[in-house]
Amino acid sequence: MSVLTEQERMAPILGSVLLMAVFCTATERMGKYGLYGRMGMGAVSIAGIFLFHGQLLDGMALYWNDMADILGSRAGIYLERFETAGIQGEDVSRLIFLIYLGIAAAVCGFLILKLKFYLLVLAWALVLPALSGILGMEPDAGTGVIFYMGILLELNLILSRSGRKRHRAESSRAFLTGSILACAVMLAAGILLEQFMPSEDYGSSTLVTEAKKEALDGISSLRYKKGKINTLPDGKLKECGAWSASDDAALSVTMEKPDSLYLRGFVGSVYDGSSWESLDTEDAYKQRTLFYWLHQDGFYGETQLSRARALADDDTLSDKVSEVDIKNEKADSRYLYTPYEITELPVGYRKETPFADSMLKAKGLFGARNYHYQANGNLVKDFTVLGARVYQALARDEGDSYRDDESYYNAFVYSQDTKLSGALETLFRKELGDGGNREQGHTDYYTAISRIRSYLEKNLTYSTAADPYTGQGDFAEDFLTNTRIGHSVHYATAAALMFRYYGIPSRYVEGYLITPEDIKDKNPGDTIEVPGKNGHAWTEIYMDGLGWVPVEMTPEYYNVMEEADLTAGLEAKGAKAAAIPEAQDEPPAQENIQTHWSLKLALFGIEKLLILLLAVFDLFCLIFIFTVCVLRIHANRRRRKLFESEDDRQAVRAMAGYARLLYYHGPELYSEDAMKCYRKTSVIGEKAAFSPHAVSKEERKDTALCVQKMKKELKKARSWYGNWIMKYIERLY
């Protein structure tokens, strides 16, 4: 509620909750008069609803819209909004709605308490973490602790009153005392906790961050992954180490007309130095209206290439639309793997999403494993020609709607996918030379592609055995200036950023390749098994008028897919960039890198070993203490059993032994009388142990009395600490 409404508007809702809760509680104890009272209140409320139904609906619509905005901008959950422009007296409507919301909340709470729905209370406790997780907002700690204290007490009250009603007597006084004590302990401990572990430090703690990351990774792995098929990092660059992939099928693709394709999965638009992320939810929500109208015109970022193909009048370009069925075997099921040539989005994926047409994220708790769509044949291999044809078509004023839609989308793409940090811009200026004025336009595609390729080929080394980067710095900067060794993830990242340096919108993409090799000898309708090793990361650039196209920037992959003729149609327009300066520094020797990492690993290993040793030692101590305690408790119980034994001789022997134990705890602590008793008990004990004569009931009674007396005197003589040790550590009594 505090997210939805201002602080001053909290008073009506809290007031109505409080008043209604008091009313319900009071009338519950008033028998039939209470019932009349409740009925009267119900009638008044219903009359109020009839009287203020207009304002109530207006208030509800206003708060619904607020909620939709918050969910959309923070969680990427898009809800339909109501038209509220014509609402008169907005404040009154909000006030009336809040009052009724408070009344409804109080009645619901009362019913939950009355009907003992304890699972609902538990679920209610999870609302806050769920909202916190979805909205990414940290609730106020003080209010939160009080909220959970209330939930705990309510849960306890319901549990203590649940079950059968017969043969029970519950004391309100006991519950009240317990509640006060529990609150006092929680508040005191909460204040102390705040001193020892301030909330500011907690959030920034590495342990917490790591735990959160591990937990989220674990959950997403559980939801979307079926084992490790390859090491594509989902944009998390700092988790990316050596490239490894399995030969197992990641995807099974059945095509009506088999063709080699780039299948896009994860698409990263925002680079933060350590990972690629999709568009920020708040930015995406601001662009929601733009995408709504684009979609109304049938313009989707994902299908733009096919749409452009429709404009181009060229029979040499692929025009074969075919059905594609995808069965996700072991690939990440959170993404829908779609080619650049997709003609229409699958059903259920045509609405606006926070990914702003960059990628298709699967719906459902465990993602999507089976889906199908229609796609054109390979257009990527001819994108330069296609671009030229589209340019010509647009110049002829063909495709009016497309021209307008593309211009809007183009503006969005340029505003979003050309962002580059100052540090990287400086670095690229140094490494690539002057990239031209990005405000005025981008470098022509051919020049940009050539220069970036040239730089990457000359200065960097492809290797699947790249080490993960665990430093605090920028991933790309480290790759380009420090390690200079990497695989497709490193190359795609660096290239995407370099394209941005040249003013060309670009994104980082992870997905799978259906290579010409894979479709060789495949007939229409044959299933193509795409292995995990076909997983790949690449760069896609936005070509004005045409849309997003993949550009292979990893040297090892140049010949894997059919490539467009880059000399055709790419040199149109664009500022000229300066030549790449000669590299100043030679890349460091391989041995040095390996040594550096070996040292790091060794240190990490020692640290881990020490932690492990400490953990083992702690565990041993805990088990030892636990075992000793259990053994002593057992001995104490056995002794008590012997004391109550039906066999007098056995009982007396046990009691005499116990008396001896008490005596050794401090002979000087006992009175003369107790010592006399002890001596007598010793004699009886010896008789019980060694003599064939029977032990009388009288003797047993005397021994028991002696033990009692000694115990009493020992307890009295010892301090509270001594007594505590004897009782809980030595388990003497």
Partner: protein, 395 residues
């Protein structure tokens, strides 16, 4: 309590999950505070219930097939509350072996008293013992518990149905006696009444010779004196059964009641003897009034129920007292019970055995409809509620 524990575990798991997944201080704090409060709560159990006094109260006697109301008085003499208490009230019919439990739960504020009412009933007569031996003292959240002793018991006796039997034993003629002041079965030394006239046998005292008759019959005849008795009949009832069967036990109690009732109505002077396990003594009571009958029946059910072996006859013979009886009636529900043979030397013994048809003994047999006067029972139940009773004289 299991439900509470599961829910608390769920709570901790949820909070731990929330703390890890959201990385928010609030949930970590709530998790830590919950753990802390549970530890505190566990510690508080040690202080709870140490001075709780529990007492049971039951009516002295009650009717068969009817509910009786008991009360459990709870008092916390300590200022520290008992946040939760749970125990089981165990009841057992000592006479028939019926058993049951009533779960009890409560909480007590500091220095507070509570009363828990409970209802119970028995289908059979007998002494019903209610025991609340120990209970679990729970913490505020009902997650931890400690055992506490209560050791309190209470008893109530469910009296049997009043019935009139059809055995000849219940009639005056059944004893076939001329006098109720002298024994008809053994000679004595009271010269006031002749027991028997017979021929002389060596060893007979000369004083016993009936000279007049000897002269007439021309043979030495001996006149035996009679044995005076204080009461005509001693009725001994045995509650022991090697294999407990509520039907037989019920029948024993009803037959015992019916015999006493019958004798009382016919003015046959009799006494009843039972063994009182509480005092460890044999108890002999004259049965003259309805009150006497109810008293002995109550004692029989209340204190005679938990027998491990048949003891009534042996205990009687250990210390028979100075009173003499002409007849002995021994009522038992155990088919293997041969104790009555020990009485043969003392007088004529009639054995009433419940649960066997006694065809070998040659006595009379009836089918005893126990509890058949209960109007709540259906006709079918009336037909089914029967137990064979046999009655014969020991020769």
């Amino acid at each position: 309590m299991i439900k509470d524990r599961i829910l608390w575990l769920l709570w901790l798991v949820c909070m731990a999950g929330a703390a890890v997944i959201t990385g928010t201080w609030l949930f970590a704090a709530v998790l830590l505070l919950t753990v802390l409060i549970l530890i505190f709560s566990a510690g508080s159990v040690v202080l709870s219930g140490k001075k709780a006094v529990i007492k049971l109260h039951l009516p002295k006697a009650s009717e068969r097939m009817e509910c009786f109301h008991g009360k459990m008085y709870l008092e916390n003499q300590s200022a520290w509350p008992v946040f939760g208490g749970a125990g089981v009230l165990r009841w057992e019919n000592l006479f028939t072996g019926e058993k049951g439990v009533i779960p009890i739960s409560f909480s007590l504020g500091g220095k507070e008293k509570q009363v828990i009412g409970f209802e119970a009933g028995s289908n059979w007569c007998g002494c019903i013992r209610f025991c609340f031996s120990d209970w679990k003292c729970q913490d505020f959240f009902r997650v931890f518990s400690l055992k506490r002793k209560a050791d309190t018991c209470a008893y109530t006796v469910v009296m049997p149905e009043r019935q009139k039997g059809e055995l000849s034993l219940f009639t005056r003629e059944g004893f076939d006696m001329e006098s109720f002041r002298y024994s008809g079965s053994r000679p004595g030394d009271d010269p006031g009444e002749t027991y028997d006239i017979r021929e002389y046998r060596s060893g007979d005292s000369i004083r016993q010779i009936h000279w007049k008759l000897s002269g007439k019959l021309d043979d030495i005849m001996i006149r035996e004196k009679s044995f005076p008795v204080d009461d005509t009949v001693l009725i001994l009832a045995e509650a022991f059964q090697a294999e407990r069967d509520p039907q037989r036990a019920e029948t024993v109690a009803e037959v015992f009641s019916a015999v006493l009732q019958s004798f009382m109505e016919q003015k046959i002077s009799c006494q009843a003897g039972i063994y009182d396990h509480s005092s460890g003594k044999f108890r002999l009571e004259k049965i003259r009034t309805e009150e006497d009958r109810e008293n002995i029946l109550y004692r029989f059910l209340r204190y005679g129920s938990d027998a491990k072996t048949p003891v009534t006859v042996r205990e009687y013979l250990k210390d028979p007292g100075i009173q003499n009886f002409a007849n002995y009636v021994y009522i038992t529900g155990d088919p293997q019970d041969k104790e009555a043979e020990l009485l043969a030397a003392k007088g004529e013994v009639t054995i009433v055995e419940c649960g066997t048809d006694g065809r070998d003994s040659g006595g009379e047999q009836v089918l005893w409809k126990y509890g058949s006067q209960n109007p709540k029972d259906s006709q079918k139940q009336h037909m089914e509620n029967n137990c064979p009773v046999s009655c014969w004289k020991l020769h």
